[in-house]
């Protein structure tokens, strides 16, 4: 057996060479080259100036806010996304199809539009804000606004990950639990939830990963006050606008490495659960 046939399983279909060649070429110039340019620039900064940038109080505050708000938003999404996915998969109610289609709205709506729309609803004069503000609960131009925007954009990730997992659940397993005397709640906690755990984790991670990079929907509602409501992507933009390319590069590289780490974790989670399923 030749080395070539070990790398590519022989096939009578033509066009592998050109298709793969074009794929790798396009991938390289659009994705890999620019990303490596940033990492090369970051490496060129040297460790001390890199560290100095990302450990400055303003950056640390931005990271704390970004991670905190993203984690809260992802948790909200997992909680409510589970309820939404459950009702969409298991129940029927008027307008269900419309609701199902609307779940993807945050995907389809440009983030800038989402940003000004959320601000309009939750600011002092908004439909909802006018009731919250007098009660002393500030949403717009405060951290809750950031959580709101991040929840908005992360929702479809959770619902769309959970829906197929819920559909795949075997009714017979639940009936078996019922026949063995389990209450509905016991079945939910001990049979359904463990089966959904991989999907819940994946949904959380996808929502979280999307949230820490989000920019458009947040900048309008956050108020952008340094040390208070300034998120990491905004800080990158600010540094760029002040021609602080080194600072922007360091911050960008660090944020990207965190994103990749999350991506890697998602992959490992899915790989581990896929293996476990294959074994049974």
């Amino acid at each position: 057996m030749s080395i070539a046939s070990k790398i590519l399983r022989p096939s009578v279909l033509p066009g592998f060479g050109p298709a793969l060649g074009y794929t790798v070429f396009y991938l390289s110039i659009i994705v890999l080259l620019p990303l490596s340019a940033m990492f090369a620039k970051a490496a060129g900064l040297g460790w001390s100036s890199f560290w100095e940038t990302i450990s400055s109080p303003r950056v640390v505050a931005a990271y704390q806010l970004t991670f905190g708000a993203s984690a809260i938003a992802a948790s909200l999404n997992v909680t409510f996304g589970f309820v939404v996915a459950w009702t969409l998969v298991r129940y029927s109610f008027p307008g269900k199809k419309l609701v199902d289609a609307a779940i993807d709205l945050p995907f389809a709506l440009p983030t800038a539009v989402s940003g000004i729309a959320l601000t309009a609803v939750y600011s002092r004069n908004g439909w909802v804000g006018q009731f919250l503000e007098p009660a002393g609960f500030h949403v717009a131009y405060a951290p809750p606004g950031i959580v709101l925007a991040l929840t908005f954009i992360g929702l479809p990730f959770v619902v769309r990950t959970l829906q197929p997992a819920l559909q795949d659940l075997d009714f017979e397993v639940e009936e078996a639990a019922a026949s063995l005397g389990a209450t509905r709640l016991q079945t939910l906690l001990r049979v359904i939830m463990p089966a959904l755990l991989p999907a819940l984790l994946t949904g959380f991670a996808l929502s979280f990963a999307r949230a820490i990079g989000e920019y458009g929907s947040v900048v309008f509602i956050s108020g952008n006050i340094p040390m208070k409501t300034e998120i990491v992507p905004l800080l990158i933009v600010t540094k760029l606008e002040n021609y602080d390319y080194a600072g922007a590069t360091a911050l960008g590289a660090s944020a990207l490495m965190i994103s990749f780490a999350i991506l890697f974790l998602i992959n490992v989670t899915q790989w581990v659960t896929a293996r476990r399923h294959r074994r049974t």
Partner: protein, 352 residues
């Protein structure tokens, strides 16, 4: 057009799918490649078609004395019927059958009217004239299979290759279709090779059967040959039920305990510990000795739903034996669980 395969080998990684296979398919015959899964039969068929390449340096594939091993699939003019039909799901039955005619090079392409006539003719041949405008998803499995066959025949292939043609069908349709395929072949006489793991299918449909196992050919012969004169232990076991037990053989006799039973084929030589094979229908049962050398046995169970009954015995040597006898015989001998019987072997085999 004859097909000649000489010394073909094929490996996938460290797995050797075919090991130096040589085979001749005479022109106009219908040949079955029979074997269990993993025996290499489908690989061999795909290599003949040109869908896979044999290992570099291994032998040749000749179509009518012409080497086609390096020739592209398109230029081999084979009709290939895929196991799961591989019908184009977005095309109607008509479009599927017409496809090969429509993609022909412009200079040899038939006119639209000729293509239409040819497709109609083929749909008639496979008895699906009324189905031209249906989509594959609207057909039953057997109908899809016949369309796949019509599509392959449309381009007037020199050889027809079928990969498990009835594998995905239920038992009743299988039976109907294989009789139909035999009649069709008698009508069109195109050299055909089909792959199957079903012995009944191979024995019933084909002119010649090629039994394959672990990448090599065990035996080639007519269905009668293969069934009645198996050349190897594998063929013996693969084609039909067989009793298998250990004993001593000598001078045409099988020694069980202290009894020497006649009936052993290949009587030369003596082996102290041989594996002896006897088909269930090659055993005679009686309740009297009649003076012949026999082995005593006890009936453990009788299964008699059907024209042929199956009797399970335990011989006095402790070995178990399954016997098939006509139901009438079971009744006349009054066989029941616990009955004592005498066993005689009609034909027994050992393989070196």
């Amino acid at each position: 057009m004859s097909i000649e395969v000489t010394g073909i080998s094929k490996s996938f990684g460290s797995f050797r799918a075919l090991n130096n296979v040589t085979l001749t398919v005479p022109s106009g015959e219908l040949v079955a490649l029979l074997g269990p899964s993993g025996s290499g039969k489908t690989t061999l068929l795909r290599i003949i078609a040109g869908l896979e390449q044999a290992d570099a340096g291994s032998g040749a594939i000749l179509f009518h004395d012409e080497d086609v091993a390096r020739r592209d699939v398109r230029d081999r003019h084979v009709g290939f019927v895929f196991q799961h039909y591989a019908l184009f799901r977005h095309m109607t039955v008509f479009q599927n059958v017409a496809f090969g005619l429509e993609v022909a090079p412009r200079k040899s392409r038939k006119s639209v009217a000729d293509i239409r006539d040819r497709v109609r003719e083929l749909l008639k041949l496979v008895q699906l004239e009324g189905y031209a405008d249906r989509y594959p998803s609207q057909l039953s499995g057997g109908q899809r299979q016949r369309i796949a066959l019509a599509r392959a025949l449309a381009v007037e292939p020199k050889v027809l290759l079928l990969d498990e043609p009835f594998g995905a069908l239920d038992a009743k349709v299988r039976k109907e279709l294989r009789a139909w395929l035999r009649r069709l072949h008698d009508e069109i006489h195109v050299t055909s090779v089909f792959v199957t793991h079903d012995q009944d299918e191979a024995l019933e449909v084909s002119d010649q059967v090629v039994v394959m196992n672990e990448g090599h050919i065990e035996q080639i012969g007519t269905p009668e040959d293969i069934f009645h004169h198996p050349a190897t232990e594998f063929v013996m076991r693969f084609l039909g039920d067989v009793n298998q037990f250990h004993g001593r053989v000598e001078a045409g006799h099988v020694h069980l305990g202290d009894v020497a039973l006649p009936g052993l084929l290949a009587p030369e030589g003596a082996i102290d510990s041989a594996t002896i094979f006897v088909r269930p229908h090659d055993i005679e049962l009686d309740t009297r000795r009649n003076g012949h050398p026999v082995v005593e046995a006890t009936v453990r169970r009788v299964y008699s739903a059907g024209p042929i009954s199956r009797v399970e015995l335990v011989m006095q040597t402790g070995q178990e034996l399954a016997v098939t006898v006509p139901h009438d015989r079971v009744e006349s001998l009054h066989l029941n669980t616990g009955s004592a019987v005498f066993v005689k072997l009609r034909r027994a085999r050992v393989f070196a």
